[in-house]
Structure formats: structure tokens, C-alpha cells
Point group: C2
Amino acid sequence: MSNPIDLVFAALADPTRREILTMLLEDDMAVTDVAEPFEMSLAAISKHLHILTRAGLIAQEKRGRVKWCKLQMDAMKDTSLWMESFGQFECVNLDAFEKFLEDQTIQAK
Amino acid sequence: MSNPIDLVFAALADPTRREILTMLLEDDMAVTDVAEPFEMSLAAISKHLHILTRAGLIAQEKRGRVKWCKLQMDAMKDTSLWMESFGQFECVNLDAFEKFLEDQTIQAK
DNA sequence: CCCAAAATCAACCATATGGTTGACCTTCCC
DNA sequence: GGGAAGGTCAACCATATGGTTGATTTTGGG
């Protein structure tokens, strides 16, 4: 239950938390600012951030009375590798990956 | 909550279920055979299989009185792509991916 | 000094997991 | 036909999520 990979998957299973992670891609944010776009109490967001921290997906650092949240990509990377390695990275996945690269190129235009 | 990607992540958050998926990499299996290595009731495994089915990670087909479980790689692929695309597939991920390919090559020897 | 802002804590509630056991339904096979 | 194998269902229990509100703590600023 306290397995690191368990915690990462569990943390990623919630859309609010995935959205928070996406927001943090832009820049580090204070807890209040993270909470702002959501129709949810600050306390609820605080809990979500705790779950993300526990999973190692973000880190929180307090400066003054503001607590800053920043992404920690490593945890996600490990889990992503678990998924990729699943099935000896069979051809199907490779195809998907190439399609993905294609899509990215198109989007970048 | 019923978001497909939510269900996949939630399904993958349990070590028993991940182990079941790994077992199914080898071959399709009957429910009883899936349950055999676990120190857990058949009913518990049945529930896990239901969660995996709901997430689209496996499919179950009944032939006679035996219900066969088989992997469905697509759901995992999609979720894997979500993770890879996270962060516009930044360099860090690319490095990880190349390291992964390297490891695979070594293992294949 | 005092108030307001930034967060967390605590208590509470509803719902979902993760497991158990026991009853039940199907289907195979002698 | 009847028993046993293959599974699911139902009820139950403990614990974790996901949310609320209200109180509390800490810190910044006028």
C-alpha cells in the first residue's frame, strides 16, 4: 500500500490532481493560487497537494507564510517507464509512440 | 470519476492487479488460475478482475463454465501516452526513454 | 499592536476499496 | 440425475478518498 508506484498511480487517478500537475508545468505556484481555478475549498486542494507530495509528484517549500508547490518529474518518469516496460515494450507500443511523436510535431506548427 | 483514464490509473494503483496484468502477459488465463498464486479468496480476485475489466485493461470471455481473462493493451497505451505527453515530452523524458531502450537491448542479449 | 492573508487541522459525512465468508447459479462429467 | 468445479453475488467490516465547514496557527503589513 505504501509502495511508491502505488502512490503515484493513486495520485494520478484523480482529474483534479492531474490538472494541478498540468498547471505546475507552467511554473511553481502558491497553494492559494493552485486552488483559485477550482470550485472547491482551499482545504480540499490542500489535501490533494498532500497526496501529490506523498507520491513524490510535487514538492512543497514554505517561504514566509506562502507554501510553494513545484513539480517533481522523477516520480512520474519512473511510473511511465513501468508502463512502457510492461510487455517488453512490444511493437504496438512502439507504433503508438511514433504516432505520438507525429502528433507532437503537428501540434508544434 | 468515470473518466476512462481515471479508471486505468486507479486500477494500476494496486500491486495485486499489476501482478495479474504481468501474469496475463504470458497467456490468457482462467479466473481460478489467476487466483492460484495469491493468498486471497477467489472472490477478492474476482473483484480485482472486475476493476481491471472496467478500466479496459483486460477483457473476460466465458467459454463453458470457465471465464478467460486476456490483456487489452490499448487502455494502458493511452494512459502511457498521457504520461509521456505530460510536459510536452520534455528532454528528461526523452533521456529516460533512450536509457530504457538501452536497458532493453542489454536484457535481450 | 492588530487585522487580514495563507494554510493546515479537526471533525464530520458519503462513497469506494479491499478483504472476508456463505449462499448461489452454471456447467461439466460420471 | 447428482455431485463437484468455476465463478459471481450479497452482506458485512475496516480503512481510505474526497469533500464540507469551522477553528487554529503563522506570518506580513499598516
